[in-house]
Amino acid sequence: MNGVKGLLTFVPFLFFLTLFYLVPLVFIVGNVSFTDFIGIIGDSYIHRLLYGTFVQALLSTALALLLALPLAFFFARYSFKGKRVLEYVLLTTFFVPAFTVAEGLIVLLGERGAINTFLSILLGTEEPVIKILYSMWAVVLAHVIYYVPLAALILEQGFSSIDQDLVDAARVFSGSLLRTLRAVYLNALAPYMVAASLLVFAFSFITYSTPMLVGGRFTTMEVEIYATRFRPISSSLALLQLSLTLAISTVIILFRERSYFPPPAGYPAEEPISRLLSKPSGVLLLVYVMAIYVFEISPVIIPMINPFFEAGQTPLGVFRGLQEFKFGFGLSFNDILYQSLAVAVVVSTVSTTLSICIVWSSKVSGGFVERATSVLMALPLTVSRSSLALGMLLSYGFGITKLYGSWVLMALGQSAVITPLATRVIEASWSRVSREYREAADAHGATTLFRLIRIEIPLVLPALIASFLMAFSSSLSDFTFSTFFSTLNLMTLPVAVNILIDTRRLSLALALTSLITTIVVAVEVLGSQLSRERLRVM
């Protein structure tokens, strides 16, 4: 492939990066005052925030990885009916609004919460046993809940890449479990562990809603950006934050580039789960996996069912209450539902189509372009959503285009953060399209376009549908861009939750949150049924 053609295959990726990230971020950087920037670099308060944010992210990462390791091993090694559904369901915490998990934590871990009440009765004390709510540890715990599934997905790929024959050989020759672990597992898993660590670290570093909801006096850089947003200093803080997260992303990219190897064309051999039950360590692993599911799902389930229990209403009754409520500029609940669904359809289509173009062009090009595109798509994952929303507001809302108030701006914002994830899902599936198919098509004189439409797309269709549905549920549950870009004429379900809160209808607000969560879970389960593909994030 000549240089020009090679460059042309970069176009979809460059188009995505420029439209969705570079232009908005340039508008943020354009607002930065040099004096402010120097001021915050020397500010001891900012140093304190950075230190706290760093420690919190480090702890979140270490704990999330530790808990994810056995889970990843379980999913990589054993097969059973409903495995894909379980994997997708585990991702629920990653997609539900932060508020849902925070409420679950308060109900469970509050000083008068379910766990403390149980422990107090058990230990015969009136004092709460666990006092972590409203502290840095509550933020760490919430992050662990969010990111264990993400880390497990990445590590699962690592475990899948290990050849069982190699493990058996190491066991025979070394005679020690510890040596086997060091010789085989540690070597094979190291790149995945670093990748998972860096991603979880970056996500923990840039979240703001969790510290706001359960952090108490503990605060982070992102909260400071939120607190000063729309003031000139906010752009300087955002730039500092952006520089740090970009540095982390660069480490991810460099590391990926060093240790990159394409995913295997086939699926790794898995053992039936019945084998697990034949030994005590296996039963222990199964109990552990079940405990992790309880740990992950209970903070989501409780806020989902609580509104119905507390209000003593049936879901139908709550739904009727929502229908009777007038939300916006004459907007009924049905109007908001239709608008949300319509935006979600557009966002899913845009992000899936864009992802197909990015993956296809990189695969056509192969070699360096394929590798570079693959690793560079990790870059946007670590950009703060509120900074990006602010940049989009400045650039496309009121800057080069006047899109504020239009659904297009909301769709642009959501597509920016969903496309990198959709690309990961599609890329994994595309990599499994057998080379023989491609070579056979080429030998018969098929054009690149013919090969795309007749061979590649039909083969990756399940992954396309899964990515479409994942994008759909992400769009439905998006709070950041929805809140930034909604008006009374344009409203999505998460914004309707805000309206209900503002008008003091808390039980309806919680019921609507639970409805959104239910839709997200249902769509994910549907995705798992339609796709035979494992989820990939790195």
């Binding site: 607190a227 007038k326 500029f329 935006v343 557009v346 007749r454 008006t487 805000n498 309206i499 003091r504």
Partner: protein, 341 residues
């Protein structure tokens, strides 16, 4: 080149979904440039919706929308100032009394005296320049969970200084003023009464009793419901709220949070903006204030029956105007010295 029926079916379904969605969104959205744009904080969106709907029924041919960008009252006011060269908004609502001077001094607003201003009593008009007109008001008071206070045999709090009682340790809350209007009102209340430096000293001492600074109203309610906190600042209309059982108040003193409405200088639709301001002061619109939120109307003819249950504080503290213009410095200081100090 033949395309399989499965692929065709998927493409057809997706195409229909996308075309339908796009058409629906295109047809259901009025063009913003033909629209009267009202800025205001996110927390006022319930009332704003009702006012816009009411105005639309009076002027059915006018497109009106309310925009908050998800911002609080200070941020939306700052956005208005930032846009003063080429304003997007025609009217701003929910502008707090304690930040009005900054916006007026920045030259972002146009003085306007509506014909029906006589409907509003003199004592409700708080902007000496007459640029920002009163729109509604609310009372931030000290509330407590009667069940918890009785169970612990504690005296109920009545005044700000009561909150410092050592026996209230870990029971008190007030909202984070950087994210909550109620929290900001509490901060302004303390500073209005005690002055800036002494006020911050008071807040530092108060931290010993503070359990949490909830990020907003919802998190306050959840903390109250779960029994995590028992004493704290809320609007008087939150007392008796069905979802916070036994939340009550002695209502001995409270802070009067007042907010206004103003015409934006160089607004694109000044005439219809003036009509909107007149409408908001009218009895018809003021009747919407109480049912649609937690604030009281400023037009005495409007009904407040909706809040008959809510205790109005006997000693009502208003904003100390000598402090005007420093809210952002207070918020910075609060984050640095109180929250993380």
């Amino acid at each position: 080149m033949r395309i399989g029926w499965k692929t065709l079916a998927v493409i057809a379904v997706m195409a229909v979904a996308v075309v339908t969605s796009t058409l629906y969104l295109l047809l259901s959205q009025p063009r913003l440039e033909d629209t009267l744009i009202i800025y205001g904080p996110r927390g006022i969106s319930g009332l704003a919706t009702a006012l816009v709907n009411g105005f639309k029924s009076r002027y059915p041919d006018v497109n009106v929308t309310f925009i908050s960008y998800g911002m609080g009252s200070i941020e939306i006011a700052n956005k208005l100032i930032a846009e003063k060269g080429s304003p997007v908004a025609d009217v701003i609502i929910g502008l707090p009394e304690f930040y009005a001077k900054v916006v007026v001094d920045a030259g972002a607003l146009e003085p306007y005296k509506p014909q029906n201003l006589s409907l509003i009593p003199e004592e409700e008009i708080w902007d000496p320049t007459g640029t920002v007109l009163p729109m509604d008001k609310g009372y931030v008071i000290i509330t407590y969970n009667e069940t918890i206070i009785s169970r612990l045999s504690l005296p109920p709090p009545e005044r700000l200084d009561d909150l410092l009682r050592p026996e209230y340790k870990d029971l008190v809350f007030y909202q984070d003023p950087t994210s909550s209007g109620t929290g900001l009102s509490f901060l302004v209340w303390v500073l209005s009464v005690k002055g800036v430096d002494e006020g911050f000293d008071f807040l530092k001492r108060l931290e010993q009793n503070i359990k949490v600074h909830p990020s907003g109203w919802t998190t306050s309610i959840i903390a109250l419901k779960s029994g995590e906190v028992a004493i704290g600042s809320m609007f008087n209309t939150d007392v008796g709220y069905e979802e916070t059982p036994n939340l009550t108040s002695k209502a001995v003193e409270g802070f009067v949070y007042r907010e206004g409405i103003a015409l934006v200088r160089n607004a694109k639709h000044p005439e219809i903006a003036k009509k909107f301001i007149e409408f908001v002061l009218s009895t018809e619109a003021q009747n919407l204030v109480a049912p649609e939120g937690y604030m009281y109307p400023v037009n005495p003819k409007a009904s407040v029956e909706f809040f008959s249950y809510a205790p109005v504080p006997s000693n009502r503290i208003t904003f100390n105007r000598e402090l005007a213009g420093s809210v952002e410095q207070w918020l910075d200081r609060w984050r640095r010295e109180i929250k993380t100090g």
